[in-house]
Structures are given as structure tokens and as C-alpha cells.
């Protein structure tokens, strides 16, 4: 314990200093108020013994200054005064003094007083210490909250910007919450929705949003099916979440045409399907338990899928709204939600106002999310501006012997390379069909001598392919050669397949060019439609087709 003794009389300084030292404490004596203030910061006393009447600064003036210097920690000040000087004693207390001692000094009393005041100071010190720690903790938590908030807003940033066909409102109970509403667009222009409610509230409930949104956005961008998406979400959440936490969710897909809905509902308030005339069509009832509960093997990813009339609506809401207790004491329920929407003609500004008004008089119990999806064409199908065609000509020759014909799929291989050529990708599907028909035709008829008419009957169809496989296995000699020639000036790919077979008679060639549906079937009619030109060369051993890259790929 450090004790600062302030007195202008050296005899008192000496007497008190000696006593304090004898108690085992550390004294420092100064002879004026000014000096006391000067030594304070370095000496940092625990208790001050302060004379009231001194030349220069008076004791109570010094007391005010010292208390200021002590800040939040209590600094006990004990005035040294004469017993009969009541006036200065009172002023001393007013100035912040805590006690007094009078001459003659009794060592027992002084020692007891010092210990008593030290106890108060210790309490104050430990309180101050705790306050500091709390303030530090608070600011750290606040910082961490800000970081997490940032991460969350980034994670949900991938949500689609406002869509005309989708209205929603979101009234969370706290900054972080367990309601999740995600939207994404698939490569075909399909609209995906994830509408979920994690158990609990606040940060703990919100944490599951991160893996959920990542998985959902990634899979939607690939155009995955709802079945695949829910299986993956369940797997991730089951792995990640503690046992008592799970996520009730509706995962839904509206086709680009707006006429087909597929959904999976695990433990979520059943969304309502509303007919274009406003009548209730049905509820999309949950058939499954929530995500994150069942192990993979038990998890049922079965969806429900149905056609909807254009102009239908789907109303989705979390139980925060359906379980909202109306003044009548009744819960709002889905009927109440539908009524509310109808009353405001589905205008979300008014609906939000209405709900907020009701909430004002109630303690909101749960996060509230409400969304209405219009079943109309999504118009999300990003029309790719056609990529400029490569200007570099190239030729490609593939020569395959019997063994290589059996083990390779040259058309798929060529297509894989084609996709890397500027301007080819959009045509890949059509080019595949064309090349594949031409190639398969050369193998089947040129090398294997297959009879296409077999394919015309149901039993014959499969028999044809079994027979083909058998003949290919038994083929001893022969080869096939593919020549691909890209001519940028023509915007055309020329594709030639030559087989080592007998070739076609000129009559057969004529027939084939006329594409008699009977003998050659769908394959050749596809060739005819997709190719800009078809010709037989080399006595019918070579078929040469050209594909026009200026052709529309969408029919």
C-alpha cells in the first residue's frame, strides 16, 4: 500500500511517515498541495493523508484535483484536521474527503482506518478491472459481429436481384436470424427457391445459412434437380449441425415456362397454391422431416412435381406469421395470411405496413418471412450473344482400325475439342447429332451390314443393338476414316466419313438422298435437317456433310 502524506508541517510529515512505514506500508511525504498533484502520477498512491489548512492550495482544493486524477478508481482521502475545526471538516467531506484523523495520532486507529479504506479501494480497483475487461470484450464481440454480418451479407449476395414475379418481406427478430430465403436461376432459366427456418434465433440459428446458401447457389447454377439439391443440403447440415438443430425448408423450382413446379417440403408451413382467379388450389403439404436430421440412407429426397396454370401464385411463409396471435386470441394461420394478402390485393407495401402495425402492439415472438411467387415465364434464360466464329481454319483426320472402332467414341472426342473453338459451343448439340448419325451410319451399314428395318418393331429395336454389338465384336477387318475440315470463310464445318465397306449403289445413294423414311428412318432425316449439304462420294463409300455455323441452333 502506497500512502501519500501531504502536510506543510515537517513534524507531522515525519510522525505520520514513520508510523506508515512501521505498519509496513510505503509512505511518500510532500509539503504542499501543488507537489502532491505533481507526484501523483508517478507515485500512484492508494490512500492520501491530506492536511486541510496549508499555505497555497487548500486541502479541499487538492482533494478535488486528486479525485479527478484517480479517475474511475476510488482514491480514499483522509483529512488531517483538528477535532474542533468542524467547518473545515465539513468542507473537506463536501470536496470528496472520505475520513479524517486528528492529532494526537493514535497508531492503532490510523492503521485500522488505512486498512478499512484500502478494502474499499481494492473493491473499486477490481470493479474497474472487470469493467475494462467487459468493455474490451464488448468491442471485440461487436467487431466479430460486424465481420460475421459482412460474411452473411456476402453469402446472400448471390441472391437474384429483385424479380417482378417474386415479392417478399422479411421481419427478423434480431440482427441474425434463422429464416433463410434464397433465390437462384438455373442455366435453363429455371427459378429456384429455398425457403427455410432454422431452429432457434440469433447467430446460432443463422450460422447454418452459410453452408446452405453455398450449396444451394452452386447446385442451382449447375441446373441440378431438387432431389439432388435437398440430398446434398441434408448431407451437409446433418454433418455440421448439433443434434438439436435442424432446418425446416421448402425447396422449389419453377420451370422457365412458369408452368411446372417441383418442390420438396421438409417440416415447413405448407405453402398455398392460389389459382389465377384467386381461389385456393391446394396446400403444398410437407411430406418429409426437416433437413439435417436423418442420415443419408434414411433421407427421402422424393419431390412432388405438377403443372400449374399460368398466373397461379404460391404463397410461402414461416410460422412466425401463421402462428401470430391475433387480438381475438386466435392464431393467424394460413387462411389468415391469404386473407391478409387478398385484402391488400397482394401489394407488399401495404401488407408490410399492416403487419408492422400489428406487431407494434405485440411482442414479436419469431422471425417473419413472407413471399409470393407468380407462376409466369421466368425470363431468366440468359440469351447468350453469339460468340464470334474462330477465323483459324483447321483440318482433322482420324483413322481407326477395327480394334480402335470397338474401343473409341470419336464423335464425343471431337466434340470435346470443338467446344474450345470460338463460336462452336452453341452448336455442339446439333453437331453431335449430325456427326454421330453420319458416323454410326457408316459403321452400321458400311462395316457391319446392319438392316435398319429391324429397328421398326419394338422387339427389333433392342435386337438391332444387340446384333450390332455382336457383329462389331466379330468384325475382323476394316477401318473407318473421319475427315473434318473447318472453313471460316464459308462458316462451315465439312465432315467426311469413309468406311472400308462395299459402298452404296447409285440407286441406294439416290434413295438415301431422298431419305426414304422406311429404310433409313429417323437418323437420316436428322442428317437431312441438320446438314447444309449431303453427298456421297467414292462410289458410296464416303458420305460428306457440311454443317452451317450461321444456322440458328434454337429451331
Amino acid at each position: 500500500m502506497r500512502v501519500l502524506i501531504v502536510d506543510d508541517q515537517s513534524i507531522i510529515r515525519h510522525e505520520l511517515g514513520t508510523m506508515v512505514a512501521q505498519f509496513g506500508y510505503t509512505p511518500l511525504t510532500v509539503d504542499s498541495g501543488l507537489e502532491a498533484i505533481e507526484v501523483y502520477p508517478e507515485f500512484n498512491p492508494d490512500i492520501v493523508l491530506l492536511d486541510v489548512i496549508m499555505p497555497g492550495l487548500k486541502g479541499y482544493e487538492v482533494a478535488v484535483e486528486l479525485k479527478k486524477l484517480a479517475g474511475h478508481v476510488h482514491l480514499p482521502i483522509i483529512f488531517i484536521t483538528a477535532l474542533d475545526d468542524k467547518r473545515s471538516l465539513l468542507r473537506g467531506f463536501e470536496a470528496g474527503g472520505d475520513d479524517f484523523i486528528s492529532k494526537p495520532f493514535d497508531p492503532l486507529i490510523l492503521s485500522a482506518k488505512l486498512r478499512a479504506h484500502m478494502r474499499t479501494r481494492s473493491l473499486s480497483q477490481s470493479l474497474e478491472e472487470k469493467n475494462k475487461r467487459l468493455a474490451y470484450f464488448n468491442s471485440r464481440t461487436e467487431r466479430e459481429y460486424r465481420i460475421v454480418q459482412h460474411i452473411f451479407s456476402n453469402a446472400l449476395d448471390k441472391n437474384l436481384p429483385k424479380l417482378n414475379q417474386l415479392q417478399s418481406l422479411f421481419l427478423p427478430q434480431s440482427e441474425f436470424n434463422g429464416d433463410v430465403f434464397l433465390t437462384a436461376c438455373g442455366p435453363l432459366g429455371n427459378l429456384y427457391l429455398f425457403f427455410g427456418d432454422f431452429t432457434g434465433h440469433g447467430l446460432a440459428a443463422a450460422i447454418g445459412t452459410l453452408p446452405t446458401s453455398q450449396t444451394f447457389f452452386t447446385m442451382a447454377s449447375r441446373g441440378s434437380s431438387i432431389t439432388e439439391i435437398v440430398s446434398e443440403l441434408n448431407k451437409r447440415l446433418q454433418q455440421l449441425l448439433p443434434e438439436d438443430m435442424f432446418c425446416a425448408a421448402v425447396v422449389m423450382e419453377l420451370s422457365a415456362s412458369g408452368e411446372r413446379i417441383s418442390y420438396w417440403n421438409g417440416g415447413m408451413t405448407p405453402p398455398a397454391l392460389i389459382d389465377p382467379d384467386g381461389g385456393l388450389h391446394n396446400y403444398l403439404t410437407p411430406q418429409h422431416v426437416a433437413l439435417g436430421i436423418l442420415e443419408n440412407e434414411q433421407f427421402d429426397s422424393g419431390i412432388t412435381s405438377f403443372a400449374v396454370e399460368l398466373g397461379s401464385k404460391v404463397i410461402l411463409t414461416t410460422d412466425g406469421l401463421t402462428e401470430f396471435v391475433e387480438p381475438s386470441g386466435k392464431m393467424m394461420g394460413m387462411d389468415g395470411v391469404i386473407n391478409l394478402l387478398e385484402r391488400h390485393s397482394y401489394s407488399f407495401d401495404k401488407i408490410k405496413e399492416d403487419i408492422c402495425d400489428r406487431l407494434e402492439n405485440h411482442q414479436q415472438k419469431d422471425d417473419i418471412t413472407l413471399a409470393v411467387l407468380d407462376c409466369v415465364p421466368t425470363q431468366l434464360n440468359v440469351s447468350h450473344t453469339p460468340e464470334a466464329l474462330s477465323t483459324m481454319p483447321f483440318e482433322l483426320r482420324v483413322h481407326l482400325n477395327v480394334e480402335q472402332i470397338r474401343s473409341h467414341d470419336p464423335v464425343t472426342r471431337i466434340l470435346r475439342a470443338f467446344k474450345a473453338v470460338e463460336g462452336f459451343r452453341a452448336h455442339a448439340t446439333a453437331i453431335f447429332t449430325l456427326m454421330s448419325e453420319v458416323y454410326v451410319n457408316a459403321i452400321d451399314h458400311g462395316l457391319l451390314g446392319m438392316d435398319s428395318s429391324l429397328k421398326n418393331s419394338y422387339e427389333g429395336f433392342e435386337k438391332y443393338y444387340l446384333e450390332r454389338e455382336k457383329r462389331l465384336d466379330n468384325l475382323r477387318e476394316g477401318h473407318v476414316e473421319i475427315n473434318v475440315n473447318y472453313v471460316p470463310e464459308d462458316k462451315k464445318i465439312y465432315f467426311e466419313v469413309t468406311d472400308s465397306g462395299e459402298g452404296l449403289t447409285s440407286l441406294q445413294q439416290n434413295e438415301a438422298i431422298e431419305f426414304s423414311e422406311l429404310s433409313y428412318g429417323r437418323g437420316l432425316s436428322l442428317i437431312k435437317e441438320l446438314a447444309a449439304n449431303v453427298e456421297w462420294l467414292n462410289e458410296g463409300k464416303t458420305i460428306r456433310v457440311s454443317y452451317d455455323l450461321a444456322r440458328s441452333t434454337t429451331g
Binding site: G186, P187, L188, N190, G223, S224, S225, T227, S255, S257, E259, R260, W264, Q287, H288, D300, S301, G302, I303, T304, S305, A307, T412, L415, A426, H427, A428, T429, A430, F432, T433, S436, E437, V440, K455, Y458, F461, E462, Y465, G521, R522, G523, S525, L526, E529, L530, T553, T554, G555
Partner: protein
Amino acid sequence: MNLFTEYSSDRKQFTIRVKGKFDFSMVQEFRQAYSEIGNEPVNIVIDFRETEYIDSAALGMLLNMRKALGTSAKSIQLINCRSEIRNILDISRFDKLFQID
């Protein structure tokens, strides 16, 4: 495996999904897929969402399925066709034989 099948949760719909290439190499697999369907009539959905390429054999398989299922298929819908696939189906006039979404 590039072919996936699933029943809807009410078992009224049977979906077949082919990933990547739907061509003659799938003849048997495809037939096996729809032979799972029992006698109870269902809606058949062929989901082309992940189908990149098709050939005339695939078209043949679809026609054969239609023939084979007869009345046990309440409807056959071809869904999620990207425009390039749709183009091939249109050339073959499949819009007259199937519901294409």
C-alpha cells in the same frame, strides 16, 4: 452411371433423368429404367436438364417406351429441354407425340 430414376413422393410420377449423352449406348439401361414401373398408371417425366447430346437411337427409345408402356403411362412429358435439344426433338416432330415443356 448416367441415368437416374425417381418416383415422386406420392408415387404418381416417375422421372428419368439422363446426364450428358443420351445415345444408342443406353438402349438397355433405358428400357430397364422404365420396366421398373408397375401396373399402376403414372405420369412419366423425362428430365433433360442435364442432357447435352442426343441421337436418333434416343428418339427411338422414347418412341419404344411410349409403345411399351401403353396405358400404364398416364402421360409422358419431356421437360427441361435446352433449346438445342428442343430443336432436335422438333425436327423429329416429337411435339406431336409427347408433351414437351
